[in-house]
Every structure is written in structure tokens, then in C-alpha cells.
Symmetry: D2
Subunit: 217 residues, 4 copies
């Protein structure tokens, strides 16, 4: 089977925000042709469990060649290529359905973690070369973003191990930072351009670049 769709997801707004930059950025790329495939941009609910059900249905339906989920990381300065998803939900705030799990496994008996199968070093390098602030991140947190990232990798491992998948966290956009004094942000145009380069790298890099991207702690 040849797969011709890139599934790119963003989230609905949460935590009283009027918008979610991940959805704004992602939907700007709906239909975009990239390396012989086309982007299908879809929105996920910011709800534990339900977000994964929607994602799995989309994967079933679209049979994507690549899956990248995108989420808001208010307070970060750069676009972050997440390295690892961990098997735990530990919510500081309630999700959009009012659920706030503490220290619950995402899949009981599942592995403790999955690494991204995206060429994250090469993606970050290409983004920076194009003037987009980007870094590899060692934690995707323990809220719905990590939940979706883990569920994605768990499903790919079971059903489509050759299909690359991963997660990108993005900062606020300026209109959000204008209401959160001191918080960094990036323009929507910068985010969309960054995602474009990320997708292209993820589709075309045969293997990842060997380049430092770790943290001392």
C-alpha cells in the first residue's frame, strides 16, 4: 500500500485560551503538498482518552504515511521536537471534560516510554538553518499532549511500525502573550513556516543527523 497522506493534528483551545496556536498553525497547512503526499490537518479534543480515540479513527481512515501531532506549550520560546513520550497521565489542571488523572498509566502494561521515530535532530537543524527557533526537547510533560504522543507511538508500534510519528510543541502566538505578561511567543507565520520545514525533513531525511541535542539535566 502506498500512503499519500500526512496526518497533522492540532488541539482545540484549553485553559481559557480563545484559540490554540497548534490548531491555527496546522490548519494553515491542510492540503499542502509535501514530498509526494498531502497534508490532512485535523483537530483533536483536549480530553484524555477521547483525544486518542479521535486520533486512532483518523489513522484508520487516512492510512497516513507520516503522523505529526502538534500542541501548545505556553511558556516555551522555541518550537520543540519532542524526543520521548512517557506512559503516565499526571494533570496539573483539568482537561476540557473536567478530568484530572494523577499518575495513571496511559496504557496499563504498556512500555514506560516510546522514542519519537522522527528524525528530530535533522528536523531541528533544518528549521534553525531557515531561521526558525527550534530545539529537541526531553520531555513532553504529562498532560494531554504527552498522552496523545504516547498513544500515537503505541499504536504505530503495534500496527504500522514503518510509519514515522512524533510530536512538536509550539509556543504561544503574540496575541496570547499579550495577555500573559513576560511569556515568549512566535508569530503564526513563523510557526507555519517551521512546520513546513519540519514536515519536509520528516518526509525526506532517510536517517537522522548526528548532532548534539541533549541536556545536562
Amino acid at each position: 500500500m502506498t500512503r499519500h497522506t500526512i496526518l497533522l493534528t492540532g488541539f482545540e483551545p484549553f485553559e481559557q485560551e480563545p484559540l490554540n496556536p497548534s490548531w491555527e498553525a496546522v490548519r494553515a497547512l491542510d492540503g499542502w503538498p509535501c514530498a509526494g503526499a498531502h497534508v490532512a490537518a485535523r483537530q483533536l479534543p483536549c480530553v484524555f482518552g477521547q483525544a486518542l480515540q479521535v486520533l486512532e479513527q483518523l489513522m484508520e481512515e487516512l492510512k497516513p504515511a507520516l503522523v505529526i501531532c502538534v500542541g501548545q506549550a505556553g511558556g516555551r520560546s522555541q518550537m520543540s521536537l519532542e524526543r520521548v513520550a512517557i506512559n503516565v497521565d499526571d494533570a496539573r489542571i483539568a482537561d476540557n471534560a473536567g478530568r484530572q488523572p494523577i499518575d495513571q498509566p496511559i496504557r496499563s502494561g504498556g512500555p514506560a516510554a516510546y522514542f519519537s521515530t522522527l528524525p528530530i535532530k535533522g528536523m531541528a537543524k533544518a528549521m534553525r538553518a531557515a531561521g526558525i527557533p527550534a530545539e529537541v526537547s526531553q520531555t513532553a510533560g504529562t498532560f494531554v499532549c504527552n498522552h496523545v504522543f504516547y498513544g500515537l507511538m503505541d499504536r504505530l508500534a503495534a500496527h504500522a511500525p514503518a510509519v514515522r510519528g512524533g510530536f512538536i510543541h509550539i509556543p504561544y502566538i503574540p496575541s496570547q502573550a499579550a495577555r500573559h505578561p513576560g511569556q515568549p511567543s512566535l508569530a503564526l507565520e513563523t510557526l507555519v513556516e517551521g512546520l513546513r520545514i519540519a514536515l519536509q525533513s520528516a518526509m525526506t531525511l532517510q536517517q537522522d543527523v548526528e548532532e548534539g541535542g541533549g541536556q545536562l539535566h
Copy 2:
């Protein structure tokens, strides 16, 4: 005499940067008509003393109705409306001519400080209302930016007390942050739009808005 020029200055690059976002943003507004005046965008050298000589010459020549100097504040997340300029040069790095003064007064015998005469609270409020991250800042540092800000206010106090003047610090643009891991940035378009609103507010607000903009420490 009716004054029809808004003098808007940016700096040349310093500290090994290939560009200075203050100049990139400022020159995009050269000739822009604003509240019955026109913007004259000019570049200042990043050199103690010399920067002020150029500024004074420009003020002499252009007889501006408003003077706003803009400078790069690498590491800040927001556009900062500076509240106060202090009478001291204390340079952590050498300027572009290799000078690095420590604890030298900008003008011997001059007052310890000048407050901005811009309606900084109203400007920040208008910028935020338009979705631009903006704040009032209580320190412009002790490098060439503060030097120019102090010199500007000192000269206006002596020769043109009715003319408003002040200083705006701006973050890196994304291409700079891509080389400075973890640093925040704002797109050039965001900075230009922010300056446009700032200028308009500075030209049209009769008096400043009463709104908190201080810091506990």
C-alpha cells in the same frame, strides 16, 4: 514652528550579530505617515559618545515632533516601553569602537535620571489590545541604549521640552533566536506592527493612561 517629522532611530548590529532588529524594524517605517507627520528612520552607531553625536545632529537637522529610539534587548520576550534613563555608562562588553566604560556619568553634573516623556502606559495598552506583547520596563540597562536614551532626554529637556521622547527595547527576531538556543523572539512583522501602534499612540494620546505597570522589585 510646526514640526512634521517623527525621528525614529535603530542601531547598527553589535556583539557579532549579523543584523540589529531595531534597525530592521525601524527602517520598515521610513516615510510612514502618522498623525499628520512622517517618520524619518535613521541608524545610530553602537558606540558610546558617537551615537549621541549622530542623534543630536539628526535632531538639529530634522526638528522632530517626536523622537523614539529603539534598541535590541536580546533575551526579552516583549516589546518594552522604557520608563527611565539613568546617568551612568557601565558596559559589560565593548561597544563597536572597543570602548568599555565602567561607572562613568553620561553627562558630568547631569541629573541622576530622566523619565520618558512618552505616554508609556497608554502605548503598552494599545499595543497589547492589538495583540502585540508589550510591557513597561523599569530599566534600560547601562549600555549604549541607556546612553542614547539619557542623552536624548537631556537634550530635549534643554532645547525642546515640549517634544516627547523615549526609548523602546525589542526582542531578537526568530533568525537570531535560532542561533541562541532558548532565547525568545518576535517576528519582524510583529515588531513593525508594534512600533506603528506605539508611534500612533505617542502622537495622539494627550495624556498617559492611569494603569499599573510597575514591578515589586
Copy 3:
């Protein structure tokens, strides 16, 4: 008249804190003999106006050889030797009497600012040499700390220009940081030791050290 008292003030708690580390640190030094003088530790109310009245009364009564006021700077990592006090009250929160002035001068017609007359570079250097995190700070904020600092310098300028005065901001202590996730702190013992060195340097250094301590912005 020979002056034999060092007036060292701390503040009462504010903003719902059970204690104020400035008062805890300061009172530990009450009676401490230093360079031929003795420390008189006194508490100031965290109230605009009233804090200055108490300070002035203490200065009248004690005729101090040196005055250092100390205040809490929750969120800072180091002990900060403040360089400059500015003539404005701009309160983000109400003081302990419920007052919240916005953009009010501390003394109408007073100078825009006063520089500390302490040898702040030499004090910071001595503190660091003893292993105490210390820096020169370019802003004391616009709340009651800056208010007291400005009022102190204003009074010294008028009545006792030969007497050195200034302000030191200190971080939370650990028990406070334990309730403010992510905030830095220093042990009370570290703060007391830092103040001891600061006082000694302020009493004995004939003139300040020439050493960089500025900020780019």
C-alpha cells in the same frame, strides 16, 4: 559628631507571606559590632508613606553612620545591591494598608532618581569572594522598597550628605520557595552572612571598586 550606629532595616511581611526574610536576616544582626559601630536592626511597615515616616524617625533618633535598608525580592536568585532609586510609586499590588498608588511621585518636585552612595561594586565583589551570590541591580522596582530607598537617599542628601545609604534586595528563604514552586531561595544563614560582609565593606571601603556590574538592557 561621631556616629556609632549602623541603621539596618527590614520589612514586615506582605503579600500573604508568613514572614519577611529581610526582617529575619536583619534582626539576626541587631547589636552586631562592625568596624567600630553597632548595628541597630529595625522593622519598617510595608506601607507607602508610613514606612518613610518610621525610617525618618529612626534616622533622627539614632544619627546613624550608615543606613542600609533591606527588602524581599521574591523570584531573584542573588542578593542584589541596588544602584538607583527612582521617584515614582507604581504598585502592582496593594500595600499592607490597602494603598495602591499608580505613577505617583514619591516627592513632588524631587529629582528623578538618586544613586546609592554605597560602594556597591566592592560590596558585591567581597560577598562573591566569600561565596555569597551577589550582584549589582539596575532597578529596585516601583513598590515600597524603591519608595523607602528613594526617601532614604532624599533625606540623606538634604540632611547628612556624608552618610552612606543604600538598599539591598534579598531572595526568598527556602521555606517560602517550598510554597512557590520553581522560585529560587537562599538559606537565612547565607543571607545573614552576606549582610555581614556587605556592612563591613560599606563601613571600610574608602571608595568603590572599578569593576563591571552593568546590564546590556
Copy 4:
């Protein structure tokens, strides 16, 4: 077999530091009796591979009832109870033997991650209740600390699954922060007291406390 030893390790200095606070804090507890056991404090080299060999030898020799490894996290404000160790070495700087692996697995074919088996929520809660700044952390980085943490959990999983193990990151001490302007620190006494409470909680809490300690991202 009844196990009566708590193995508590710290690291030798690295990155040009004259000391490593993890070793200074740990060795202060050597011999300390805790919940029916005694602390054996040992130093690990800051070298990939070699650190794990030393650790395994110590575990073989001491048959500890509990193993907690401690490491320096310069830049953090609080004591961090690490939640998860990941199977990757990605070094931003060379270790003390000059090695700088990039994206190498710690154990080829090992699981992607291990969760700490310490009651980290309960430990953090007890520490905060005693006035010690403490938090749960979602990443131990990708340097020698994470390497040791992963190796420890890997070995415990294989050979002593009933023995609890985990990792605690600690901030600089003040004398280090005095040379790293702006960095937070905690006094050695605070760190030692924090470790004491951590050990006691790890030895006595039957199961972990249900309390939020996650991150949104």
C-alpha cells in the same frame, strides 16, 4: 536476606567546578542511621560507562535496601525528584574522560525508559512540609546523571526488583552560584536536610501519595 544499607551516591566534580554539591551533600550523611538502616555514601566518577561499573560493584558489595543517586543540576532552583530515566546518552559536553556520545542507547535493546520506584510525590511533599524547596521532575536530561539513573533501574529490575531506586537532582550551592551570575542555589545545610527527609520518606512510605506533580508540557 535483610538489607541494612542505604546506598547514596554523589558525583565527582565536572565542567570545571571545584566541587560537586551532590558529593558534598551525600558524604555528610555517610553512616547516618535511617529507619533501621545506615547510609553508605559513595562517589561516582562523572564518566559514561565507568560510573555504572562503579555503581554495580557497590550494589554487589553492599546489597542495599534502597539506592538513591544524587547529581548536580546547575540552574535549577529546587531539589528534583526525577520521575523517569530514558535509554539514551546525548552529551552536550564531554564527560571527565573526554567522551561525548550522541544518541547512543545506554543498553542496546533495553526498554526506552524506567520510572523511578521511589515514592517521589510523597518525598517531595514531606520535603516541602519541612520547608525544603522540592518538586517532581519529568526529565533527568541525557548526560551522565540520566545514564546512571537508567543503569541503576535496569539493574534493579533484573536483579532486585523489590529494592527501590531513583535519582535526585540538586541545585548549585551558593559558592558556585557566586561564580555563575544569576544562577539559583541552596545552602549545603538545606540540601543535606532535604536528603535526610527524602531518605526517611523513601524508607518508610508504604506507597506513594496521590498528589499532582506533572507538567502541562
